[in-house]
Symmetry: C2
Subunit: 247 residues, 2 copies
């Protein structure tokens, strides 16, 4: 039922590239799909030579199912394809990354990524916070969103009563004055030669306060990354868009 | 020669957690090590039950070597350990993420991650830009750093002559006035109700200009993420630091 077929690749370069991959005894490598904007690991499957070739031709993340013994393109049933912008090989060429943009949630459960089960959460060492494998910036975004939710739902527990983030979320005038102040402090760290540590710290201040404003506006950081990618990835990625076939 | 031993875990919760993992016919799962601050996929190996248990006890990413048929802790020879803050399972519990902070470069080649080979680069569809599997924000950082290098080394080719980034890198006064201006525009997008798209776009402006200033100061974005994590991950991660054993 898949509309994606493994087209034979004609270029010798692609064939030569596939020849460098160290397939295991079953002709497979581990293939990890990663979100180019958020860095989230979306899912992991296996790929044979056909699956990698198909991914390169179609720009859609394609895997080999060990249980069904066939190729499958992520999204062929759900329509949530993963649009692959580049394929990366590890140092010994037995593991690959499909770096791309998902059309929708990757997991069949509806979750953005398949990795939503945290050992720390299960073992009870997470008091609050996200259960997904979020990296720092997105973990911070999640914390801010939770504070916003607590305000909206007026759920206040002993562990979430006072919070600078909540104060900012509820006072746009204060928030905006802080953003302008922190931007000024960031600039002064350079103008007044206050050193690298001060610059790092002031950048963190600007980023945090600006992220609170994003939450106020119900904008996801992911949207901003998409804009930055469209503007600044003139190098490989834009170039690739104009190619007829292959990466 | 490893100082890390597989300590038997006593808690029934950990044993119960390990029981939920779907080990393959060789008793293994795919284990992916990811940098919590940058989102970079550092390396991928395999883990058996002992390896996952050891990782949870020692907080050091530990794998099972299929070729040598033994446990090994990343860093046991190089001292570049990966300090694991949480372990995530995918939806069908046959693939895991070790989310953590590396002590140094992960790859034996000295590269930050093992995934430094880009198919697009090899196939000649990357004109410039990074060869590593960088996500949007770090790709942008890399582009800015390259512009800075071009200025320092006075290497100007046809493709890199004019550039707003270079103008900003060479004129701190202009850069700082832009940062203050963009922060003001970001705030006005809320104050004057200009809508979500405007907020996203102005946030992107602030972030980009502030990142140019980071490059001027030779500060890596990763440093800022480290600061943010220390400040804001009060939830799971801080809590875990205080635990004597296990995640
Ligand atoms: Zn490998
Ligand atoms: Zn899933
Ligand atoms: Zn699934
Ligand atoms: Zn301040
Ligand atoms: Zn400040
Ligand atoms: Zn799985
Ligand atoms: Zn390596
Ligand atoms: Zn402007
Ligand atoms: Zn602007």
């Amino acid at each position: 039922s898949s509309s994606v077929k493994s087209e034979p690749l004609s270029t010798t370069e692609v064939e030569a590239l596939l020849d460098t991959i160290k397939w295991d005894s079953n002709g497979l490598v581990v293939a990890i799909a990663q979100h180019i904007d958020t860095g989230a690991i979306l899912m992991q499957g296996f790929a044979n030579r056909d699956a990698v070739a198909t991914t390169m031709n179609s720009h859609l993340a394609t895997f080999y199912s060990r249980s069904r013994a066939n190729l499958w393109t992520k999204g062929e049933t759900s329509s949530n394809f993963i649009n692959v912008l580049d394929v990366f090989f590890d140092c010994d060429h037995d593991s690959i990354i499909y770096l791309g943009v998902p059309d929708g949630p990757t997991c069949h459960t509806g979750a953005e990524t398949c990795y939503f089960t945290s050992a720390a959460d299960i073992l009870g060492s997470l008091q609050s916070g996200t259960k997904s494998a979020l990296t720092t910036l997105y973990l911070l975004e999640d914390i801010i969103k939770q504070k916003k939710l607590e305000i909206e739902e007026q759920t206040t527990t002993s562990s979430n009563k006072a919070s600078w983030t909540k104060t900012l979320l509820e006072n746009r005038k204060l928030l905006c004055s802080k953003i302008r102040e922190e931007a000024d402090e960031l600039c002064r760290s350079v103008e007044e030669d206050e050193g690298k540590d001060r610059t790092s710290s002031e950048f963190a201040d600007v980023l945090y306060h600006a992220m609170v404003l994003l939450a106020v506006q119900d904008v996801n950081l992911q949207e901003v990354m998409k804009i930055l990618r469209a503007r600044f990835s003139q190098s490989g990625i834009d170039e690739k868009k104009n190619r007829k076939s292959g990466l």
